[in-house]
């Protein structure tokens, strides 16, 4: 405690004049309750006293005590009624407070809803949906067009280029080797992934040692 | 008969050879002896294992028998109190028992240290353990540790468990004077004078300067010094609400919590 910055997070609870008056009412109720309690305790004592007097055959005095007891009971009743009324008033006040609170919150809620609705009208939304639909259709077309352009064509043209390159780089096979050339060798010469090195190796194997 | 220089040399060599022969015989003899002893010891240990297995229940349940068995093991160089990893632990299963007992004893010492200053009667520990055992035995659980508590714990067991703790740190020791044994769980030496004072006060749990003078016949200074020492070691509390100052020793007597 005593740390400056922590105070900023603490919200002070406001006590209005209304609150104070309400408290007064409640304190009043408490006093009544305490009063009732005192009277009840007295009552018990008087009952005891009355019994004792009857046992001692003091009839007159017992009667007096009983009269006092009756008066006490009446007072207790009165006090109870008063307290009951007070409790009713208090609970009415509470209910009213809740109702008011409720209405206020409802009002705020409705206002909030309205302001949200203002930012968007129905037309705007329909327009937005339309635009979105068009955009999606356009996108689909683009994909289609791109898709019809096959990469296989690129591959074939590359192959042609490679063959041209090969015939340009390496001299034609000497005539005397043509007989010894096996079909497999001729096939190998056309395999795409073969490098120039491997190619020349194959040839050297065939050369007479 | 040997004569001449050459004979001297030859002699030396023969001596050397003779010595070597003797050494050889001696070492092989030693080796044999050693081997035979080893064999004997092995046989002995094997028998011990069989014995331990056969009488396992008896060892676990009877403190007297347990003590004798322990002495037997020690005499052939086997420490049955090794902890979890040893071969002996498996055969005898005693390491666990003493380890758990040691833990309980140190718990008791720590709990009572504030009151008795770290000096507690061996019998008091036994009493607390016995009460604890009875309590635990009535709770029926299947935990292994509860089953172990059914074993009766003797004073010897307590002493052996304390010896185990001693291995871990010097502050636990078994102190005795007269025929009273204590466990001391704090470091520090009790001087002879201190022990005497405690010894003499064992009966009532407290003493006075006058009583000490009467039974020990020391000078007033010596008595006061000993008492001062005990007070400062927190082994004694003063009581000034009697006719003269009383010195109470919580480790000798303390009301029981029931």
């Amino acid at each position: 405690m005593g740390c400056g910055f922590s105070r900023q997070h603490v919200v002070k609870t406001n006590v209005s004049s209304f609150d104070r008056e309400l408290l007064d009412l409640k304190i009043q109720r408490d006093s009544l309750q305490q009063y009732e309690q005192r009277l009840s305790d007295s009552l018990k004592n008087y009952i005891k006293l009355a019994r004792r007097l009857v046992a001692e055959n003091q009839r007159q005095q017992a009667l007096v005590v009983l009269q006092v007891k009756h008066a006490l009971q009446k007072s207790i009743e009165k006090a109870q009624n008063m307290r009951f009324n007070l409790e009713q008033v208090l609970s009415e006040i509470e209910l009213k407070q809740i109702e008011t609170d409720y209405v206020l919150k409802l009002r705020t809620g409705t206002k909030l809803l309205q302001s949200i609705q203002k930012t968007l009208s129905i037309e705007e939304i329909e327009h937005l949906l339309e635009e979105t639909k068009e955009a999606i259709e356009f996108q689909n077309k683009v994909t289609e067009v791109l898709g019809s352009f096959s990469l296989m064509e690129i591959d074939e043209s590359c192959e042609e280029e490679l063959e041209q390159l090969e015939t340009a780089m390496f001299p034609p096979v000497p005539k005397r080797l043509e007989k010894t050339m096996t079909p497999q060798v001729t096939e190998n010469m056309q395999v795409k992934s073969e490098t120039a090195k491997e190619y020349s190796k194959q040839e050297s194997i065939l050369l007479p040692s | 008969m040997l004569r001449g220089k050459a004979l001297g040399l030859a002699g030396l060599r023969r001596e050397q050879e003779a010595r070597q022969a003797i050494d050889f015989i001696a070492s092989s003899f030693r080796k044999e002896l050693y081997e035979s002893l080893q064999k004997q010891l092995d046989v002995f240990r094997e028998n011990l294992v069989l014995f331990a297995r056969k009488y396992r229940k008896k060892i676990e349940n009877e403190p007297e028998f347990r003590a004798q068995f322990h002495r037997l093991c020690i005499s052939i160089g086997v420490d049955p109190l090794v902890s979890k990893k040893g071969f002996w632990e498996e055969v005898l299963g005693m390491g666990d028992f003493y380890y758990e007992l040691a833990v309980k004893i140190s718990e008791i010492c720590i709990a009572t240290r504030d009151i008795n200053g770290g000096l507690i009667l061996l019998d008091e520990i036994k009493r607390l353990l016995d009460n604890h055992n009875d309590e635990k035995f009535t709770k029926r659980t299947s935990k292994r540790i509860i089953l172990r508590n059914r074993y009766e714990i003797s004073r010897d067991d307590i002493e052996r468990a304390v010896q185990r703790i001693q291995v871990l740190g010097k502050s636990y020791s078994i102190v005795s004077f007269g025929n009273i044994r204590y466990i001391q769980s704090v470091p520090g030496e009790l001087s002879h004078d201190h022990s005497c004072v405690l010894s003499v006060s064992k009966e009532q749990g407290f003493t006075t300067e006058r009583k000490l003078a009467a039974s020990l016949k020391w000078s007033k200074e010596r008595i006061l010094l000993a008492l001062k020492g005990l007070l400062e070691m927190e082994l004694a509390w003063i009581d000034d609400q009697d006719l003269e100052r009383l010195y109470w020793f919580p480790s000798l007597y303390y009301p029981i919590d029931d």
Binding site: R20, L23, I27 | E234, W237, D239, Q241, Y254, D257
Partner: protein, 177 residues
């Protein structure tokens, strides 16, 4: 209410003489403080007067004919206050609030009840909190009003409520947010 069970040291004669050796005295005072707190908790006593309690069975054990001297009792109270387990209400009259529960602990319990019983956003009187039937089974029933005030002030500093007086009454009430 069951009879309070005194701890063993209460039956040990030297416990009632303030020990000269510092370390021992520290232990002794702690034992006495613990006793005061558990005694007050058992009998729901929220404040003690030094002089009255010094003559009560709290600090005197007639069975062993020993009692703590007034000076020693004052030491015990001083220790309680310095450890935060007590607060002097009236130093001259030597009345001390005993915190076997600290105010912040009471604050938590009371606020918990307030939330659970839906008493938030309502106004309660001190009397109501202390004596109404609603609170009969809670520990703070019958709590000392001074202690209640301190506990509510803890809640106040946390922004959870406001303690105030009525317009025409100076009895206290509290409003929970």
């Amino acid at each position: 209410m069951t009879v309070f069970r005194y701890p063993p040291f209460y039956s040990y004669p030297p416990s009632f003489t303030l020990q000269p050796v510092k370390a021992t005295r520290e232990k002794q005072l702690k034992l006495w403080c613990d006793l005061v707190l558990s005694y007050c908790k058992h009998y729901k006593i929220f404040k003690l007067s030094v002089t009255d309690s010094a003559n009560s069975s709290l600090f005197a054990n007639t069975a062993i004919d020993r009692k703590l001297s007034l000076a020693a009792v004052e030491e015990v109270f001083s220790r309680l206050v310095s450890m935060g387990y007590g607060e002097w209400l009236n130093k001259e009259a030597n009345v001390c609030l005993i915190y076997w529960r600290r105010p912040y602990e009471w604050a938590e319990i009371i606020y918990d009840w307030v939330e659970r019983s839906g008493k938030r956003k309502s106004i309660l009187t001190f009397y109501e909190i202390r004596f109404s039937e609603d609170t009969a089974e809670f520990e703070f029933h019958g709590i000392d009003p001074e202690l209640l005030l301190r506990s509510l002030q803890v809640l106040e500093s946390q922004g959870k409520c406001a303690v105030f007086e009525g317009k025409t009454n100076d009895d206290l009430g509290v409003k929970f947010r």
